[in-house]
Symmetry: C7
Subunit: 81 residues, 7 copies
């Protein structure tokens, strides 16, 4: 996966249809299947679940996350949740 | 619904006329019927109700929400409120 | 009123000359008659009054509110104040 | 004054040469004579005075205020200070 | 000085080479000789001194101040420090 | 390395494929191999690890970091972690 | 040095290759040799050292600092550290 990544958004592109972990500025974390993203890093997750203290606390299903609230997105980290 | 989503704003488009949950940066949550949105993620809800501790606390009716105060929008989560 | 709303700013347009409730990021709320707005959501209220704990605390008369300090604007909610 | 206001900046235009009250994000308030403004809502006040707890606490004279620190500007409210 | 001011930046222009007081968002105040400014309100002060509780606490000499950290700039107020 | 640096992004360019330390605004630090960056300073790290109190606390693997959450990036500092 | 400064960035230009003090919004200060800067005030320092309570606390070596986290940059102040 790593050798396909020349620009930052390539990570999001190769993660489409896969589980990702999204860290928000307010401290919340979400895991869910990455369906779509744009250059503002607005993202859409399916089966989005909020993570608190390492455990899934709430299910939001299909969710639009506004890009400017996102700190990082990790496809690998989601696999271990 | 999921297979129509290629870009993030598609989620908002397929949610028009349906109930959505909107999480604001200041911690407040709103539920209401999504009437309109734009590329800044400014949204208009009809029958907007504020949610506190999982319960509806205030009714605002027709409400314009400024995009830069929004963290996420979930059409699915509103169904369970 | 709702069936005229195709874009978010349409809510502000149909609310011109009517009372609106404006929620600011710093926690303050204003009610007043909406005289004007622009695409930055800068708004002008006439007979602007600050609301604290559900009661009108201060009168500001004609007031210009800078758009980036606004969380939401509700024409319906103002009617009940 | 109100019937000349079609766009938000019209309020600032009709207030040139008059006393205005300026609320800043950090909580401070200024009163002073509005000399100039631009589309960023940068403003210049003459005889600017800081208001604390409803009383004038410091005099700053001619002062440039950066637009992105401003919450609201009220020509009417200044008259009652 | 006041009758030369038609646009906000005119205040900075007529203050070049003179002492100004600069209030920063983080609460700090600087006084110094205004050498240069641009449309972002980035400014350069010579002999910049930090003010704490009305007294000069530190000397920074020639200093570049980033515009988005500035609340207000007053040429008059500096004269009284 | 230093004599190749004429513009700020040159530091990121010469650090591609090397370990870097990334300081986030929220206080967190990451170390990882820099794979990609863009003009917004969005960066991609491989083998990203969070640092707390000087020790590696969590592994995130391949991670996209949004540029506007970044304070500084140091290729040298990572070497000593 | 002062008479070469017509625009704010001129201060950074005449400081290339010299020690500068950089104040960050989060309260941290860095000193280091200024290698490069751009119009966003992104800067690169060599031999960057963090300053806490007037003493050098950590060495970061070559470091990229994102412009929007910077409050001020002083070439003179660095000389006295």
């Amino acid at each position: 996966m790593v050798n396909k990544i020349e620009r930052p958004l390539d990570v999001l592109n190769v993660s489409k249809g896969k589980e990702v972990l999204v860290q928000l500025k307010a401290g919340k974390q979400f895991v869910g299947t990455l369906l779509a993203f744009d250059i503002h890093i607005n993202v859409v997750l399916d089966n989005a679940k909020e993570i608190e203290n390492g455990e899934q606390s709430k299910s939001y299903g299909l969710t639009f996350l506004r890009g400017d609230t996102i700190v990082f997105i990790s496809p690998s980290a989601a696999a271990s949740n």
